[in-house]
């Protein structure tokens, strides 16, 4: 006699057993002894999460209502598995190479890491899966209820809803414990998968046991069953058991699509796949499993219909038949089978959904609130991520529970399942298009998904709440606002289709059309194009995805790689230290995950995280390097290139500076040479008069010339040379002051002819002595000046006395001509001598450039240099005029009030 306590106790024991299985498997996986976990059988059995309570209980119900139609639900996955080479292989390869964590991640990753798509697929998955989870809660609760009703004398379940809460809570706990114990980069859950495999066996054994009992225990063998079938077909309502071609094709396609797009199926098919070769085995083993699962569905259905009282829920025949015949053990097994079906589905689905919700919704939000946070804060991310996962699991189960409460648990299991299937199938175009069509674009995927999902919600999901639900009966019957074309279950006037097929048809067709059209019209981003190539051509450039088996990677390969990065000696020392830590001799430590992790960190410091990860991943031969990795590597490379180019720029700068320095150095050397030359010149100029002075003074001291006239001449030479010396010193000082710009100018108003008069007066002695004639045109000289006229006069004096001294004509003449041109005053001094030889013209304004053969004239060669400095300060100029009849100089001056007086002139290093 089964009591409630027994039932709960058995359930608890069963769950504890699953715990142990999962725990051991996890532990072995962590110790890298994953061999038995990589067995294709475990993989195949884990695929059985496809067979939920709907399949376990609902298939019989379906068969009882619609005959063989339930087979379509198995047919779809079977076709997918048989054709694995064309689609599944590629899907798994992409999933592995891109390290995809969920179907939302796959779609988002394919379309340029679009988080919008991630969110969209996550929402579709959550909404599509919620009824499914509700269905599992419903079936478990119903199965409890079956026992309660039959044993009302012994025990009763006080409240079905409370049972559902307990079941949901328990499942949440189990999922959290094993689905979120730790974070695996690949989102693999060895423990859970193993537990699921055990449950798959329980399911199969339970259903087979019930089937065998029904066929041979009570049905009278195959003949009896055949007879019961005849009877059932006749008893069934007209047409219920006849094959409807459209519905068959539709449902087969739907189950195939759902097999690929259901989050939990994607989780076990792709994410939990450890080795691509598992697919080959699963391609025949899983259809076999499905065949066995469906083998006794019809017998149980027809026997149930024949034996059990009318009105008995066919969905529970699997349970009620053994109970009817008081087979408590078998009933218990059957109950555990259903329990297994429900729990495995809920666990895997909630893990898959939690990954999607936390990765695509919660984490982006959390990260956006942490924008700009330092790296240290991101260390919390792991903890946050785990919390987000746990929260998501609780939330998803809560959603399922509330759907169960709202829908009232009344609908047939199969109907709910098909609604879910059709919802998640909307992801198929984006997924398949992404795998096979490079032209598929993000915009197209988004638009297609939204279109398909909206139509699904409008034509199937919302009407599923019943006429009292979201949509009123009138909307269902006549369309919104009475528009017949928009009737949810007869869109565009397409009548007479089964609601599921109708919804599937319109949602997927429009989904595809919009997806293709928008894809053709939009331009994908570069990242999208890159990802498209990676996805579509994944089979061309990647080897079969093998397990990231640490044992497969030899330490030696890692050492060789590390040597290239770290340098030979350092790498060897580091490996030796690691080996020593593991208690090993030599240079080759075991490639434990711990060691791999440390090596990755060590290399990260040298080549960057992404590069290090990519390098190790390459050697371990596990997950191929993803685009993410490559982009990160490219990013790092970019940074290095930038640094390099910065270095190059700096080097260029240094080269330029060095060149400038050497130029300056050269200039300084040049200046130093010039200075030496100048000092040498000064020395010469000073020593020359001193020589005469000393020589004649010694002559005088030693008695002098006997001739008084000669003595007088000697004395006068001494005198003249002293004067010359003094004048030289004066000139030098004058020039020095002018050149250093420290000269003070005293501008005043004066008319040009007055300045010329003064200059001629000052040179009258030499003019007289040289008998030079000066020609002036006084009428031109009435120009008003505002300048330092003393300095100007100094220039004039110099030019006039030069002319007097150097003019070599017989009758010396000097013409002074004044002109105004373009706001400037020109004063030309032109004599009738032979002028300055052409080759000397460029030098005459330099210091000590006295024309040597006229040294006797007594100048020190500084006069014109001084003139040039003065005219420069007066904002004017002095130039030699070639091509005149004789020596000719032109002095120009600005006329008018503007003048630069009072300015301080910068010292010029070029002039000592």
């Amino acid at each position: 006699m089964l009591t409630f306590n027994t039932l709960v106790g058995v359930c608890l024991l069963y769950v504890i057993m699953l715990f142990v299985v999962a725990f051991v498997a996890d532990k072995r996986a962590r110790r890298s002894k994953v061999r038995f976990l990589t067995s294709p059988m475990i993989y195949t059995l884990s695929l059985s999460v496809y067979c939920t309570a709907w399949t376990f209980y609902g298939a019989v119900g379906n068969a009882a209502r619609s005959g063989l139609e339930y087979v379509t639900i198995y047919l779809g996955p079977t076709l997918v598995m048989i054709g694995w080479w064309w689609f599944l292989r590629k899907l798994v390869r992409v999933g592995r190479s891109q390290r995809v964590t969920s179907i939302a991640d796959l779609v988002s990753s394919r379309y340029g890491k679009s988080n919008l798509l991630g969110v969209l697929v996550t929402l579709i998955a959550v909404i599509g899966t919620t009824p499914y989870i509700a269905l599992q809660l419903q079936s478990v609760t119903l199965s409890f209820a079956v026992f309660a009703r039959d044993r009302s004398a012994g025990w009763i379940i006080p409240d079905l809803e409370q049972t559902a809460i307990w079941v949901a809570g328990g499942l949440a706990l189990f999922t959290i414990l094993f689905g979120t114990r730790n974070l695996d980069v690949n989102e693999r859950h060895h423990g859970v998968v193993t537990a699921i495999a055990v449950e798959a066996v329980v399911k199969l054994v339970a259903l087979l046991a019930v089937g065998i009992f029904v066929v041979w225990g009570i049905g009278g063998g195959p003949q009896g069953i055949a007879a019961a079938m005849e009877q059932a077909i006749q008893a069934a309502p007209e047409g219920a058991w006849t094959l409807q071609g459209g519905r068959w094709v539709g449902l087969t396609f739907l189950s195939a699509a759902a097999f690929l797009t259901l989050p939990r199926m994607f989780q076990v098919l792709v994410v939990e796949n450890v080795d691509e070769r598992q697919l080959a085995t699963a391609s025949w083993a899983f259809p076999l499993y499905l065949f066995l699962m469906s083998l006794f569905v019809i017998p149980i259905a027809v026997v149930g219909l024949a034996i059990l009282p009318k009105g008995e829920n066919p969905d529970l025949f699997v349970l009620t038949l053994p109970l009817y015949f008081e087979q408590d053990g078998l009933a218990m097994l059957s109950f555990l089978g259903g329990f297994s079906s429900a729990t495995s589905m809920v666990i895997v689905a909630s893990i898959a959904l939690a990954t999607m919700v936390s990765n695509h919704i919660i984490m982006p939000i959390w990260l956006s609130t942490r924008l700009g946070a330092g790296a240290s804060e991101y260390r919390d991310a792991r903890q946050i991520l785990l919390s987000a996962r746990r929260l998501s699991i609780v939330g998803i189960l809560a959603l399922g529970y509330f759907y169960y409460r709202i829908s009232g648990g009344g609908s047939a299991l199969a109907a709910i399942g098909l609604i879910s299937f059709a919802g998640v199938a909307q992801v198929l175009p984006a997924m398949a298009g992404g795998l096979f069509w490079r032209g598929a674009s993000r915009s197209g995927a988004v638009a297609g998904l939204i279109t398909g999902f909206a139509i699904w919600a409008y034509t199937l999901f919302l009407p599923s709440f019943g006429e009292a639900g979201v949509m009123s009966a009138s909307v269902l019957a006549h369309g919104p606002w009475g528009i017949e074309a928009l009737r949810p279950q007869a869109l565009f006037g397409v009548n007479g289709l089964d609601p599921v097929v109708h919804a599937l048809f319109w949602s997927l067709v429009l989904n595809c059309v919009v997806f293709v059209l928008i894809s053709l019209l939009s331009f994908p981003s570069p990242l999208e194009r890159l990802q498209a190539a990676q996805f579509v051509n994944v089979l061309d450039h990647s080897g079969p995805a093998r397990g990231r088996s640490f044992n497969a990677a030899t330490s030696e390969d890692l050492l060789v790689m590390a040597q290239q990065v770290m340098g030979s000696d350092q790498a060897q020392a580091w490996f030796q230290a690691q080996a020593e830590q593991q208690g090993k001799q030599g240079y080759l430590p075991d490639t434990t995950p711990d060691f791999i992790g440390r090596l990755e960190r060590e290399l990260s410091g040298l080549v960057g995280t992404a590069t290090a990860h990519a390098m190790i991943a390459q050697i371990l031969g596990g997950a191929a390097v993803s685009v993410d990795d490559l982009l990160a590597v490219a990013d790092e490379t970019q940074q290095m290139l930038e640094q390099t180019s910065q270095l190059e720029a700096k080097q260029l700068e240094l080269t330029t500076t060095a060149r400038q320095l050497s130029e300056v150095n050269e200039k300084l050397t040049q200046l130093s040479i010039q200075k030496d030359a100048f000092l040498s010149q000064i020395s010469h100029e000073l020593r020359t008069p001193m020589t005469s002075i000393r020589a004649f003074s010694e002559i005088l001291r030693d008695g002098g010339a006997s001739d008084p006239a000669a003595a007088a001449r000697h004395a006068s030479i001494i005198h003249d040379e002293s004067v010359r010396l003094t004048r030289l010193l004066d000139d030098l000082l004058d020039l020095s002051v002018l050149e250093n710009g420290q000269v003070q100018l005293y501008p005043r108003h004066e008319v040009l002819h007055e300045v010329l008069d003064r200059a001629i007066a000052a040179t009258s002695s030499v003019i007289d002595q040289e008998k030079m004639h000066i020609h002036r045109n006084r009428s031109d000289e009435g120009v008003a000046l505002y300048t330092d006229t003393d300095r100007l006069a100094q220039v004039f004096i110099n030019l006039i006395s030069n002319a007097a001294k150097y003019c070599d004509a017989k009758g010396k003449r000097l013409a002074i001509r004044v002109r105004q041109r373009g706001g400037r005053l020109q004063v030309d001094f032109v004599d009738n001598g032979s002028g300055v030889p052409f080759e000397s013209q460029s030098m005459i304004f330099e210091k000590f450039s006295r024309l040597s053969d006229q040294a006797a004239a007594g100048g020190a060669g500084l006069g014109l240099a001084i003139c040039r400095e003065i005219m420069d300060k007066l904002d004017g100029s002095i130039t030699y005029l070639p091509g005149q009849s004789g020596g000719a100089f032109r002095v120009t001056l600005p006329v008018g009030s503007h003048s630069p007086f009072g300015r301080t002139w910068p010292s010029d290093i070029n002039h000592l």
Partner: protein, 122 residues
């Protein structure tokens, strides 16, 4: 026997001073002011000793000395060089070119006489 001395000096006052000093000491003095024609002047005058200024118009005293030292008839001519640029390099250059005596302006009259006498061996 009167010693012949040629003074090549472009500064007239200095040339006059040297002439006076040497004449008073009993030398036969001739002067020449141009560098360009100095070598020819030496050949023409055939002096016993030459006083040569460095800074001469047209041709420097060094060039003249070099020319004299490379010609057979003047190779052995004793030369006293005078310069107003009394730097060490000037003296070195002159000695390398084969000068006999080197004096910096301004000079002592008696020292010049001493040098000249030594040069002509008397």
């Amino acid at each position: 026997m009167t010693r012949q001395v040629l003074v090549i000096e472009d500064e007239p006052n200095i040339a006059e001073a040297i002439s006076f000093i040497l004449s008073r000491d009993g030398w036969s003095v001739s002067t020449h002011a141009s560098g360009t024609t100095a070598v020819q002047a030496v050949r023409d005058a055939k002096p016993d000793v030459l006083i040569l200024d460095v800074m001469l118009p047209g041709k420097s005293g060094y060039d003249i000395l070099q020319d004299l030292r490379s010609a057979d008839d003047t190779r052995a001519l004793p030369v006293l060089m005078l310069t107003a640029r009394g730097q060490k390099t000037d003296r070195e250059l002159a000695e390398r070119l084969g000068v006999n005596r080197f004096m910096t302006k301004p000079f002592s009259n008696s020292e010049m006489l001493t040098n000249l006498r030594e040069l002509v061996g008397g």
